[in-house]
């Protein structure tokens, strides 16, 4: 009898602990953990402020946590700036962590829509989650603002009247800079890419854009995630003698490739484009390997425009550090979109909010002016071509060009 009692107590304790663990977004971001259903409410200026519940569904823990955490920091920064109130509408965030698990995401989504009854959802950190939720969102008619996931599908065949994006599409990331590279680095390009669904979308987009810009793709080598030795690829590249090499490899493989590209003597001969970001340059070898490589970015903290200067100041004041890149800006811009929608929509009914989202309004983003394209539901923004330059043991940017109004085609290009 006594053993059973203990067992039951333990079981109940476990359930409580796991429930607590799940519903609050844990992580290092400022006060978001435990803020499950209590958003910060500031002093309202309008009479009888109406509370608008906005569901935040992001990946806040696990390997992809940086995405959700970055988004949250940007979003909270913007909302706090406005005291969580726009006009007579008070914003209350209901934050849920999907841990980048589609099953959990579905569950949390249902909770946000059915029991919290949120008026809109913002977030969606990865394309896996996006595809898992897309059909539900469309049939439930829940207005959703994507602040990260780049899957092209929701701008093309899987478009929904209720899904809009303020971050980027894989097409844009992939095709970014193609015209500049053709005009300035060379027409014959060799591509090495890490195999993944996102990688495939990005490479296909780049190939499409590069060839349309007048270039020739010599070869695309697909590399398995976890590849340790690129010796053979180096040989192939050397034989093909391209004008440019583009390494679409991310994280571990990306760094290895860049280092080995230098080790095997190719760096001095052929310009290298990568997808590495400056926050990865944490050791002298990586700084060395990335020095002189090219990249096309949607945002860099050193961008010289009013909105960005303000954004970086505000960020520093609140978080005591500098923004690292896209995630924080996407969160911040999501806040701007929310503000615009709440101030301009006649009501909180999905159709009314959608009509504002489709109106092609411009927001003053730290990345430059951004417009959500009414056709693709995807942001149209600037693309900054830059080159890494070694500065002591750090990596600096050298801006080369700005490509304006970069968007994506209205329909999927024929393969």
């Amino acid at each position: 009898m006594k053993k059973q009692v203990i067992a039951i107590i333990l079981l109940v304790l476990m359930l409580i602990v796991s429930a607590c663990g799940n519903s609050s977004g844990s992580g290092s971001s400022g006060g978001s953990s435990g803020a499950a259903s209590g958003g910060k409410s500031g002093s309202g200026s309008g009479a009888n402020p109406e509370t608008v519940k906005i569901g935040v569904l992001m990946t806040l823990t696990g390997p992809a946590a940086a995405i959700g955490e970055g988004n949250m920091r940007g979003l909270e920064l913007f909302l706090e700036k406005h005291n969580y109130q726009f006009g007579n509408k008070k914003v209350e965030l209901v934050v849920e962590d999907d841990t980048n698990n589609p099953q959990i995401a579905l569950r949390k989504y249902r909770k946000l829509v059915d029991s919290d009854k949120v008026s809109m959802i913002v977030g969606i950190s990865t394309s896996t989650i996006l595809y898992a939720l897309r059909d539900q969102i469309d049939s439930d008619k829940v207005v959703t603002l994507i602040s990260n996931a780049g899957a092209n599908g929701v701008s093309w065949s899987q478009k929904s009247d209720y899904i809009y994006r303020i971050s980027f599409s894989n097409y844009q990331i992939g095709a970014n800079g193609a015209q500049y590279y053709v005009d300035n680095l060379g027409k014959r390009i060799y591509i090495v890419a890490t195999e993944s669904p996102t990688g495939k979308e990005q490479v296909d987009s780049f190939v499409d854009a590069f060839t349309k810009a007048g270039g020739e793709v010599l070869k695309v080598d697909w590399v398995k995630s976890g590849t340790t030795d690129f010796a053979t690829y180096m040989v192939d590249i050397s034989k093909a003698n391209p004008d440019v090499v583009y390494s679409f490899n991310t994280s571990t493989e990306g760094i290895r490739f860049a280092i080995q590209f230098q080790e095997f003597g190719l760096k001095d001969k052929i310009p290298l484009i990568t997808q590495l970001s400056s926050d990865m340059a944490v050791t002298p070898e990586i700084v060395d390997a990335m020095d002189g490589t090219y990249g096309a970015w949607v945002y860099a903290p050193s961008l010289d425009n009013e909105a960005n200067k303000r954004f970086v100041e505000e960020y520093r004041t609140k978080y005591n550090s500098d923004p690292t890149g896209g995630y924080e800006v996407y969160g911040y811009d999501a806040g701007q979109v929310i503000k615009h929608v709440l101030e301009n929509a006649p009501s909180l009914k999905p159709e009314d909010m959608v009509s504002v989202l489709k109106s092609g309004f411009e927001i003053d983003s730290p990345r430059g002016p951004v417009v959500i394209d009414p056709v693709t539901h995807n942001p149209v923004n600037n693309s900054y071509i830059q080159r890494f330059v070694k500065n002591g043991d750090k990596l600096d940017f050298e801006f080369l060009a700005v490509l304006e109004k970069q968007s994506m085609p209205a329909e999927e290009p024929a393969q």
């Binding site: 976890g226 030795d229 010796a231 053979t232 690829y233 050397s238 290895r256 080790e263 002298p284 070898e285």
Partner: protein, 289 residues
């Protein structure tokens, strides 16, 4: 495929295989003598790399850092062996559980101490050059890894065949009780062997640093490969490990290029075939009851 490309790939495969050998042989020796399946071996590998990184960062130079890392990990090995494994000899399930537990704990410790960024160790200065081979410059460091691996293999062979320590170990593998009955301090031998295996894994990790980089999860990856290699080569025989490590290294390297989707699968298929044809592994002596 031309000769020079083939040569390059073989060299790349060999250098990877040598790294694998250094880790796997520690595991197999430990198993052969002590019948301990040490799942935490991957942790020794990773810690070897990370400690070397920290020492290098403190401006200590590659070689001193490598030695310090080996010493630190060897010490850790002794502590684990004396405190945790001491009471578990003969109890395979408990050993696996506890060493697996250590693997997870160390994995998190590494995240805590060194963070989640991908880190690198620079190639030691004397070896930081490339040799022209055909169209390509092949990094000299990798050739060094091959040479070092051969050196370790030769040293092991010499120790096993020609020294008394080797004789004791061989005897212990054959019949542990008899060894004790002969008056050898078996506990001391065990502790030393475990320490040696751990140190070797750490050295492997340190040497792998400049090639593979340091990243979370490297312990798991290397553990999986080591287990496969040890099983293919034969539990308890380092000769078998040498051969199978080189084979697996080659399969992985060639596979990554020609069958990127299947390279891991090919390794496992190879393992299954070997086990079907010769269940005790390529050089194994047969399972003791």
């Amino acid at each position: 495929m031309e000769i020079s490309t083939l040569m390059l790939q073989i060299l790349a495969g060999l250098s990877y295989g040598m790294l694998l050998f250094m880790i796997a042989c520690g595991m197999t020796i430990i198993y052969g003598l002590m019948h301990v399946m040490n799942m935490a071996h991957g942790s020794f590998f990773a810690l070897g790399a990370y400690v070397t990184y920290s020492m290098v960062h403190a401006k200590l130079g590659f070689w001193p850092s490598l030695l310090i890392a080996a010493a630190v990990v060897a010490l850790l090995g002794v502590v684990i062996e004396r405190l945790l494994l001491n009471n578990m000899y003969g109890k395979m399930n408990e050993q696996v559980l506890i060493t697996f537990g250590i693997l997870y704990v160390v994995q998190d410790l590494i995240k805590w101490i060194w963070g989640t960024d991908i880190l690198t160790i620079g190639v030691p200065k004397i070896l930081n050059f490339s040799i022209a081979m055909g169209d390509i410059m092949f990094p000299a460091y990798r050739l060094f890894v091959i040479a070092f691996g051969i050196l370790v293999a030769v040293a092991l062979w010499y120790m096993e065949a020609k020294t008394q320590t080797g004789a004791i170990i061989r005897a212990g593998v054959d019949d542990r009780e008899m060894l004790g009955a002969l008056g050898v301090n078996v506990k001391l031998v065990f502790a030393c062997v475990f320490m040696f295996g751990a140190a070797l894994a750490a050295i492997g990790g340190a040497m792998a640093g400049p090639i593979l980089g340091l990243y979370n999860g490297m312990d798991m990856e290397i553990l999986t490969l080591s287990l496969v290699i040890v099983v293919i080569g034969g539990l308890g025989t380092w000769k078998g490990t040498f051969v199978s490590a080189l084979i697996v290294g080659m399969i992985e390297t060639f596979g990554q290029v020609y069958f990127p989707n299947f390279s891991m699968a090919i390794v496992f298929v190879f393992m299954v075939i070997v086990l079907i044809v010769k269940p005790s592994g390529l050089f194994g002596k047969g399972v003791t009851a």
